[in-house]
């Protein structure tokens, strides 16, 4: 069933929804990255909640003009207008009052949303007996999506994506170092406004599919996911688009397989699954690779200390060190070094002695900062420098024993 859904064979509506959601996810993921890197992820929450009053007002206006008020384009225009107003309010409150941005976000979010709820109850009384269905925009609803709706969502999403990609250089510059961007002649305030305008556009486009409460997830989660996989901004943007698009596509497919699987929440949960998988498994920043790195480091330290002990004929008591030495075939069970253990231990001791000699050398001692107890001196010095150290060692009385 899921395979069928993923191959777009569950009927016309499911196919439309899957393609529309994929386009939306792709655009939201890539656009959200700029917001994420600018560390203003939650402004999107205010913007998306602020769409509600515009949605209701647009509906009322269209009904007053004699329509049935359900044209998606009209509703989108109304919600864009009020989201824009919400965005300006956040920006004004942060710039012209003492309130911090988080307070401004919370205030705009709750007040616009509250006012939207008031208008929704007005709509309900106006259209008594006739379902306006505006509530479906809270959590999204893909049942009965029209071809024109899907087209509008996909093309809107791709248009936003194109704008974001066209502006990527100044946007990234502002995100990473707004002070430097300013010296380069970039208007930081205008770029911030540009990011937020793109975010607003995504919100409006995504209303139908994921709804205004959860759209913020599609902007934040793919970007946070992609960040685990790369340190390069352009790749993060690409990967976020990929994760977003996949979440949209897979989520829509899953939701088409059974009733009671609402599209919006499923898409969000799929993207969250990607996030958790990346948090655990991503190379470099993932938890698993960090744990492995830590273990490998510990092993190196134990090995080195064990070899030095063997070289000086000290007994090795530490259980883990013994285990590591035995597994590496350097020590027998009774604590006696094997022949390869002898040679490795001698090498370790020689390395240690050379480092000590380096510290008292006049012109090489500044390299002693590289001595972390694990780095081999062979990787730091040239052969002739080592020969020089060896001369110093043999000239001195022996350091050990």
């Amino acid at each position: 069933m899921l395979a069928q859904a993923l191959l777009l064979q569950l009927g016309y509506n499911a196919t439309l929804v899957a393609l529309g959601s994929a386009a939306l996810g792709l655009a939201a993921g890539a656009t959200g990255t700029f917001l994420f890197l600018r560390k203003r992820a939650l402004v999107a929450d205010a913007v998306s909640h602020a769409t509600l009053p515009g949605l209701a007002l647009a509906f009322m206006l269209m009904v007053a003009l004699g329509g049935d008020g359900r044209s998606l384009a009209g509703l989108m225009a109304g919600s864009a207008l009020s989201a824009w107003l919400g965005l300006l309010s956040v920006s004004w409150l942060t710039r012209h009052t003492r309130l911090a941005e988080d307070a401004a976000i919370g205030a705009v979010l709750s007040v616009f949303f509250g006012f939207g709820i008031v208008l929704l109850t007005v709509v309900q009384t106006l259209s008594a007996g006739r379902q306006a269905g505006l509530e479906s925009f809270l959590l999204g609803s893909t049942a009965g999506m029209l071809f024109s709706d899907a087209l509008l969502i996909a093309s809107g999403g791709l248009a936003v994506l194109a704008c974001a990609l066209a502006l990527r250089r100044p946007l990234l510059l502002v995100a990473f170092d707004s002070g430097y961007a300013e010296t380069q002649g970039i208007n930081v305030h205008r770029m911030d406004l540009a990011i937020m305008t793109l975010v607003m556009a995504i919100t409006v486009v995504g209303l139908k599919v994921v709804g205004l409460i959860l759209i913020v997830a599609l902007l934040i989660i793919p970007a946070a996911t992609a960040r685990f996989w790369s340190n390069r901004a352009d790749r993060v943007v690409l990967l976020a688009g990929l994760f977003g698009g996949l979440s949209g596509y897979i989520g829509a497919a899953i939701s088409a397989t059974a009733p009671g699987l609402p599209t919006g929440p499923i898409i969000v949960l799929v993207s969250f699954a990607f996030f958790v998988a990346s948090l655990l498994l991503a190379p470099g920043r993932g938890l698993l690779s960090a744990a492995l790195r830590h273990r490998a480091y510990q092993r190196q330290v134990h090995l080195r200390q064990g070899l030095l002990a063997l070289a000086q004929s000290h007994p090795v008591y530490e259980a883990r060190t013994r285990r590591i030495l035995r597994r590496a075939g350097l020590m027998r069970a009774d604590g006696v070094p094997t022949s390869s253990g002898h040679s490795h231990a001698a090498a370790a001791l020689r390395d240690e002695n050379r480092w000590q000699a380096l510290r008292s050398s006049a012109h090489l001692s500044e390299l002693s900062a590289r001595d972390d107890g694990l780095t081999l001196i062979l990787d730091v010095l040239t052969p002739d420098q080592i020969a020089e150290l060896d001369n110093r060692i043999s000239a001195q009385p022996k350091v050990v024993s």
Partner: protein, 301 residues
């Protein structure tokens, strides 16, 4: 202002007011610590908590649901901290990841389970049912002295009053350490104040207020009251004590004015049906914020 008012409006007015003040009190400290959006996050994550509690117990009794909500709030705080620390994700984004995902899980659970027999749906969670908390047994102001009628008061009223008491006691009892830890954490630590504990206590208090208010009035009032009255008060004064009193005044005013406007406003304009009280209370608090942001004495510093 006769019997009809006592039956239909007295209880919701009081519940709305208590909820508003209970949220505004911790909101002041959250605002100053730049943690305002905790209220936003908590009010999203209580949905899965409530649904899980319902699925476990099988009916919609209050205490399991409140426990479920509180549990979910705790889980979310732990998760946010975990991915912030372990994944090195910025705090705002970590919050956004967790609360949207948990809310989505809540909606999914709700859709998957058979909750048609009880009053449990997303809209209820968002904007509560303040208007339905009426006091049927009352016959007039005299009922306030009638023990039989008093016993039939909506249970939300008692719960909200208790919550307000707890929150006020916390604010009053820990006033000095709270104030110090909020304004100068380093100094507070040198005085031996357990800063971490105070900070945790504040979040727990906020969660208690949010969960109790959520049950009675829906999440939209919770978010609005956590932020709007304290933010408005912040632009009225530079003194913390005065700010708290201002915020209480703004919260009460929003609740009363919002409820009255929602219930009677449409009638004045020739309408016949009331509009959402929760939404109107949030709207009124926003209007007050807008006015003070434009003309308040301390709007910039």
């Amino acid at each position: 202002m006769g019997a009809e008012f006592v039956i239909l409006s007295l209880a919701p007015l009081l519940i709305g007011t208590f909820a508003a003040v209970a949220c505004a009190l911790p909101g002041n400290f959250l605002l100053l610590r730049r943690q305002s959006l905790i209220g936003d996050a908590i009010s999203h994550v209580v949905l899965p908590g409530i649904v899980v509690a319902f699925l476990v117990t099988g009916h919609s009794t209050t205490w399991p649901m409140m426990l479920g909500a509180a549990g979910a709030a705790l889980v979310s705080v732990v998760l946010i901290e975990t991915i912030r620390r372990l994944g090195r994700v910025d705090a705002g984004a970590a919050m956004g990841v967790i609360f949207t995902s948990m809310f989505a899980a809540g909606v999914l659970l709700l859709e998957q389970s058979d909750t048609s027999s009880v009053h449990l749906d997303v809209e209820h969670a968002l904007y509560g049912n303040l208007e339905s908390l009426i006091w049927l047994e009352a016959s007039g102001w005299g009922s306030l002295l009638d023990p039989v009628a008093l016993r039939a008061l909506p249970p939300e009223l008692t719960r909200m009053a208790l919550t307000l008491l707890v929150v006020s006691l916390f604010t009053w009892g820990f006033w000095r350490p709270l104030k110090l830890a909020t304004f100068d954490e380093g100094f507070a630590r040198t005085l031996g104040i357990p800063v971490q504990l105070i900070s945790l206590g504040l979040v727990v208090t906020a969660a208690i207020a949010a969960v109790a208010a959520f049950d009675a009035v829906g999440s939209i009032i919770v978010i609005a009251m956590f932020i709007c009255p304290p933010a408005t008060a912040r632009m009225m004064t530079n003194r913390l004590a005065a700010q708290i009193w201002w915020s209480v005044a703004f919260a009460v005013l929003s609740a009363v004015l919002g409820y009255v406007l929602a219930g009677y406003g449409p009638l004045w304009f020739g309408g016949s049906n009331a509009v959402s009280a929760a939404g109107m209370i949030a709207t009124v608090s926003g209007l007050m914020l807008a006015v003070v942001a434009a003309i308040g004495p301390h709007r910039t510093a």
